[in-house]
């Protein structure tokens, strides 16, 4: 267990370095430059040279790269050209919001995906199974923004049950401490925050969670069906074990690695979806910040947001791997089969 764990942990810095380097390369390959986005047309050439020298942009590329890595190591992402705030602060404000939404979407995806897959397995090849297979295809082909708009129409406009914009109503006085509403509600002793927070969370997380659950349904269903055909299930029946116990201890237990891998991979897709969903629902997360920064060519914010999202993705993958290590003793011994 420990050796597999250590090996996995040791890859983390390299992955972060690779992501940071890739983002650096992309930012420099993009047309236009930070100077152009910062300065208006009426800046003189002399001023422009001074500005570049001030920002270190006159240095050779390798030197800029080293300076960049050094500041990343100190969590210094620079100052946003648009807001004048430190990008690190902006990430600190928006990343927890996205994590909340991704977390809620993950719950929706897991509950719907696993639930439907279990029903499908139970009724294999029956009408319920066929219906769920069809549903999974529909859900995985639905565009996120389309489902988001339909949900807003139904639940906000027609029924008026749920809010469709923002994270908390403006009427509520919320001064964030950790930026996680759930944690702040406990720290500040403000249970009144939780109700509105959840009601604002429902539509965006349903949008992202449901569309991601289609793939989960299909893959988990086939993973379980494949595990049911394994010979150790026959051994369990031969021993005289009851059907429920066989399903939990032998089938689900061994399908778990495949299921967790699917869930982890879908979480990555979900992060992409939350960028769109945050824009549709005016949710003040890092995705919306990223889109705004791109629109206003706010280089350092784009760069910082990209790194933060990638780091979150790496973290989730790492946790998925840990869960797989826990579930599968063969992986612990480094047997990858």
């Amino acid at each position: 267990m420990t050796s597999g764990l250590l090996r996995r942990v040791a890859t983390l810095p390299f992955m972060l370095l690779a992501v940071a380097s890739l983002i650096f390369a992309i930012m420099h390959a993009l047309p236009g430059s930070m100077i152009e986005s910062l300065s208006a047309q009426f800046v003189s050439d002399a001023q422009r040279v001074r500005l570049m020298a001030g920002l270190g942009l006159d240095q050779p590329l390798w030197r800029q790269y080293l300076v960049y890595l050094n500041s990343l190591a100190h969590f210094d992402f620079g100052i946003s050209a648009q807001t004048g705030k430190s990008v690190a602060t902006m990430i600190g404000e928006t990343l927890p919001v996205t994590m909340e939404m991704a977390g809620a979407s993950f719950v929706v995806m897991t509950v719907c995906g696993l639930g439907a897959a279990l029903i499908a397995v139970h009724a294999a090849d029956g009408p319920a199974d066929v219906a769920i297979r069809l549903l999974s295809i529909i859900l995985s082909t639905l565009p996120w923004f389309w489902l988001g708009l339909v949900l807003i129409m139904i639940f906000s406009l027609w029924l008026g049950w749920l809010p469709s914009f923002g994270r908390l109503p403006p009427s509520i006085d919320y001064r964030p401490v950790t930026n996680f509403v759930m944690i702040d509600a406990v720290i500040l002793g403000r249970p009144d925050l939780i109700g509105p927070w959840i009601s604002h969370l429902v539509l965006p997380s349903l949008t992202v969670g449901l569309t991601s659950s289609g793939v989960v349904m299909r893959l988990v269903r086939s993973e379980i069906l494949a595990t049911m055909k394994k010979e150790f299930v026959l051994t369990a029946r031969m021993k005289g074990i009851g059907a429920n116990r066989i399903f939990l201890r032998h089938i689900l237990r061994n399908a778990a690695v495949g299921i967790m891998t699917v869930l982890g991979a879908q979480f990555g897709a979900m992060l992409g979806g939350s960028v769109v969903a945050e824009v549709v629902f005016g949710y003040p997360g890092i995705g919306r910040m990223l889109v705004r920064a791109i629109e206003s060519r706010d280089y350092l914010t784009v760069q910082g947001a990209g790194i933060a999202i990638a780091a979150l993705y790496i973290l989730v993958n790492f946790m998925t791997d840990l869960a797989c290590l826990y579930a599968n003793p063969r992986l612990r011994d480094g047997v990858w089969s």
């Binding site: 394994k230 010979e231 150790f232 026959l234 051994t235 369990a236 029946r237 031969m238 021993k239 005289g240 074990i241 009851g242 201890r249 032998h250 237990r253 061994n254 579930a327 599968n328 003793p329 063969r330 011994d333 047997v335």
Partner: protein, 328 residues
């Protein structure tokens, strides 16, 4: 010898609704208490389907049975599911061919053996000790390590020994061993077989051993049943069958196993494959007729029944061999 297991007109059919094929066709046999019976035949002859059917392990939407399987007088095919569950592992246990796929990769050896014991209320406070002793008995030298190990952490031979221990754990009356040594190295095969033989002898257990290895038959069994095309074509005590095979198919199998050469120096083979047997099913004749050098017209039109051919043997052939010297 009173029969422990009595099988009457057992048929097993397999496949989706419209395309059902009968893969075991009205077979009769019995196994006495303490008797070791070998069931031999080629791949596709229906021997594994028969083995699984005895505790209804291949039952499902794609597989059905007819006939009777009586264990100590109780018809297994008529049991409800709770009773069937109590029977499995406790009255009939099976050793599967490939222990790597037959053991749960995510649980330790001790967990897997104990699970069966618990299911039959046989775990008790001394379960761990009993598991360790059992593993020692089946020839595992470091049982303390193996109980804590996962299947991938032990060798193939050890895994099959574990599988044997798992099947013995609840002292079943009938042990079915479905090609128990096929997945093992030749050197390990003999040792594992000897272990199995000692363990069942000590317990006086009845055994049905499925194999296509005549060496296994000779080393272990009291009686042999030869299966071909879903039917039992010959049944006799081991010595009789080896000395005086009555069915041309049995004779051909033995010739293959003994590496008999014909006049031109080629090893004996049986022309065709067992698939031919199913192709013929529609025509009512003997399933082996298309591959049989002794076949006559009647063989293609009338199916021979399994009938007494001596005090101890039965054969299903219109023209059985009468002496081992006779050549087809």
């Amino acid at each position: 010898m009173t029969a422990l297991l009595d099988v009457r007109a057992l048929s097993v059919s397999f496949g989706p609704g419209g395309a059902r094929r009968t893969i075991v066709d009205r077979i009769d046999f019995s196994i006495g208490r303490g008797e070791i019976v070998a069931l031999v035949g080629e791949s596709g002859s229906g021997k594994s389907a028969t083995a699984l059917a005895l505790s209804r392990l291949n039952e499902g939407p794609r597989c059905g049975y007819s006939g009777e399987i009586r264990l100590s007088g109780r018809n297994i095919l008529a049991l409800d599911h709770p009773d069937l569950r109590r029977l499995r592992g406790r009255a009939i246990a099976t050793i599967f061919q490939d222990p790597l796929s037959a053991l749960n990769p995510s649980e330790t050896i001790a967990q897997q053996i104990a699970e069966g014991m618990r299911a039959h209320g046989m775990a008790g406070p001394d379960a761990d000790d009993r598991i360790t002793r059992l593993l020692g008995e089946v020839g595992i030298h470091d049982p303390d390590r193996v109980t804590r190990a996962y299947p991938h952490q032990i060798s193939g031979g050890q895994r099959q020994r574990v599988m044997i221990a798992l099947a013995l754990a609840c002292d079943p009356e009938l042990l079915i061993a479905d090609e128990p040594t096929t997945a093992l190295d030749v050197t390990v095969q003999t040792q594992v077989l000897a272990t199995l033989y000692r363990a069942v002898q000590k317990r006086g257990m009845s055994v049905l051993i499925i194999t296509h290895d005549m060496g296994v038959v000779a080393g272990m069994a009291d009686r042999v049943m030869v299966m071909y095309g879903g039917r039992i074509v010959e049944s006799a005590p081991v010595e009789t069958l080896f000395a005086l095979p009555r069915h041309p198919y049995t004779r051909a199998l033995l010739d293959c196993a003994r590496h008999v050469r014909d006049a031109s120096g080629h090893y004996a083979t049986i022309p065709g494959t067992a698939e031919t047997a199913f192709a013929l099913r529609a025509t009512q004749g003997c399933a082996f007729a298309p591959r049989c050098r002794r076949a006559r017209p009647a063989c293609f039109t009338h199916q021979p029944e399994l009938a007494e051919c001596s005090d101890t043997g039965r054969v299903a052939c219109h023209f059985p061999l009468v002496g081992s010297k006779i050549d087809g």
